[in-house]
């Protein structure tokens, strides 16, 4: 009997412990970190192409998908393009998404401890060919006889 009671006590202790752990793991940024949330500059567009919470967790998947489509298949839609992110989120101060600690990408990545290597190759500032401008399907001057074709 004494043994059963001690099992029960142990079980109870475990349950309490698990409960506390679960509380700690709850996705509350303030409670989890004690580190101040990054203060992100507002993007230039009206709103993001996806829900902010969704983007926070899934932007990398979207970018990966898009990069494969663009590079390998030549699909040049702009909705999930890295260039479009940069155009919208480049800082008013530095003109970049990753040149100072406060810039959009770096601010969040350093908070999250993520070190993606996008910027080894990709420009951190918008270029002269805006993706929005590029989105207009051009009638190709490469095809002089394209008059009768779609």
């Amino acid at each position: 009997m004494a043994r059963l009671a001690s099992y029960l006590r142990a079980g109870l202790r475990l349950a309490v412990l698990l409960g506390v752990t679960a509380l700690m793991a709850a996705p509350s940024f303030e409670a989890a970190a004690g580190v101040e949330l990054p203060k992100l500059e507002k993007g230039k567009g009206e709103k993001c192409v996806e829900d902010t919470a969704f983007m926070r967790r899934n932007h990398m998947e979207l970018l990966k998908h898009h990069r494969n489509e663009t590079l390998r298949q030549g699909i040049r839609t702009t909705k999930h393009s890295l260039k479009a992110c940069v155009e919208c989120h480049a800082s008013g101060k530095t003109g970049s998404v990753a040149s100072s600690k406060e810039d959009f990408c770096v601010a969040c990545h350093s908070y999250a401890g993520a070190k993606p290597d996008c910027w080894d190759c990709h420009a951190t500032k918008p270029g002269k060919h805006s993706v929005r401008q590029a989105a207009q399907p051009a009638v190709s001057p490469l095809m002089p006889s394209s008059g009768g074709r779609q």
């Binding site: 990069r67 494969n68 489509e69 590079l71 390998r72 298949q73 030549g74 699909i75 040049r76 839609t77 702009t78 260039k83 940069v86 080894d120 190759c121 990709h122 420009a123 500032k125 918008p126 270029g127 060919h129 590029a134 989105a135 399907p137 051009a138 009638v139 190709s140 001057p141 490469l142 095809m143 002089p144 006889s145 394209s146 074709r149 779609q150």
Partner: protein, 247 residues
């Protein structure tokens, strides 16, 4: 550049020249013309109904002119330096017939081979050919092993040795990856000509024609059909997208 380097290049030029002459005789199956080219919307993607190609008329190529090289460097963010560790996507090559002393000047770039050896040897699938024949390196999966550089018969590829900054947003490039001419894919996809071709036109030489080899109505197809042209090293049967006249 050291003397031995010079003489190596010299050798290579003669090699290319000789083989081009052989190519003229043993010219393999030509380019097939069929299908109708389409200008496409952004969501459409590259299609095998097209094959981008180029015809370079060396008799029109200006001696001492390197506007195509400069335009490429500007468009793609290359320094223009020509040291052993610098990227060169297109270079002017002088070839000399040793028997007659006749010297010609021509631009050499990735030939966008149909049977690309660089694609065959790549262990990661990074070196790839798009449906429309443009050969690219997917830097996301390139491990920098440089097999493709060894495999390319045209010495068309370069390795990036140092970290880069301020890249052209449309042309991401970085340390540790191999790269080569992309036919200015960013321009072609929005309907513009490659930067080198545009520069050659602007200069008034018009030595480079670019277009869809599968569209019988394209300027390049018509030119190919109406006059003789060769692949460099046609003996390798790589069916290059770039062809030359006058060599």
């Amino acid at each position: 550049m050291s003397d031995s380097m010079n003489s190596k290049l010299e050798d290579r030029r003669h090699f290319l020249k000789t083989s081009a002459v052989v190519a003229g005789v043993t010219l393999g199956p030509g380019v097939l013309f069929f299908g109708v080219a389409q200008s496409r919307a952004p969501e459409e993607g590259a299609s095998s109904n097209q094959r981008w190609g180029m015809l370079i008329d060396t008799t029109k190529c200006g001696d001492g002119c390197s506007d195509c090289v400069t335009a490429c460097n500007t468009e793609n963010g290359l320094t223009g330096h020509t040291g052993p560790q610098d990227s060169q996507w297109i270079r002017k090559v002088d070839i000399k017939d040793l028997r007659t002393g006749y010297v010609q000047s021509l631009p050499m770039l990735c030939q966008h081979c149909e049977n690309a050896p660089c694609v065959d040897v790549c262990p990661t699938g990074a070196s790839m050919k798009r449906a429309d024949g443009i050969v690219l390196v997917d830097r996301h999966s390139c491990i920098g092993c440089r097999y493709c550089m060894m495999a390319c018969p045209y010495k068309a590829r370069s390795f990036v040795h140092e970290p880069l900054t301020d890249q052209n947003p449309e042309v991401p490039r970085g340390k540790g990856c191999v790269e080569s001419c992309t036919f200015c894919v960013q321009r072609v996809d929005r309907g513009d000509k490659p930067a080198c071709v545009e520069a050659c036109d602007t200069k008034g030489h018009k030595a480079m024609l670019f277009g869809d080899l599968k569209d019988p109505e394209s300027e390049v197809s018509k030119a190919l059909k109406s006059s003789d042209s060769v692949e460099v090293r046609a003996d390798l049967a790589l069916h290059t997208g770039v062809r030359y006249q006058g060599i």
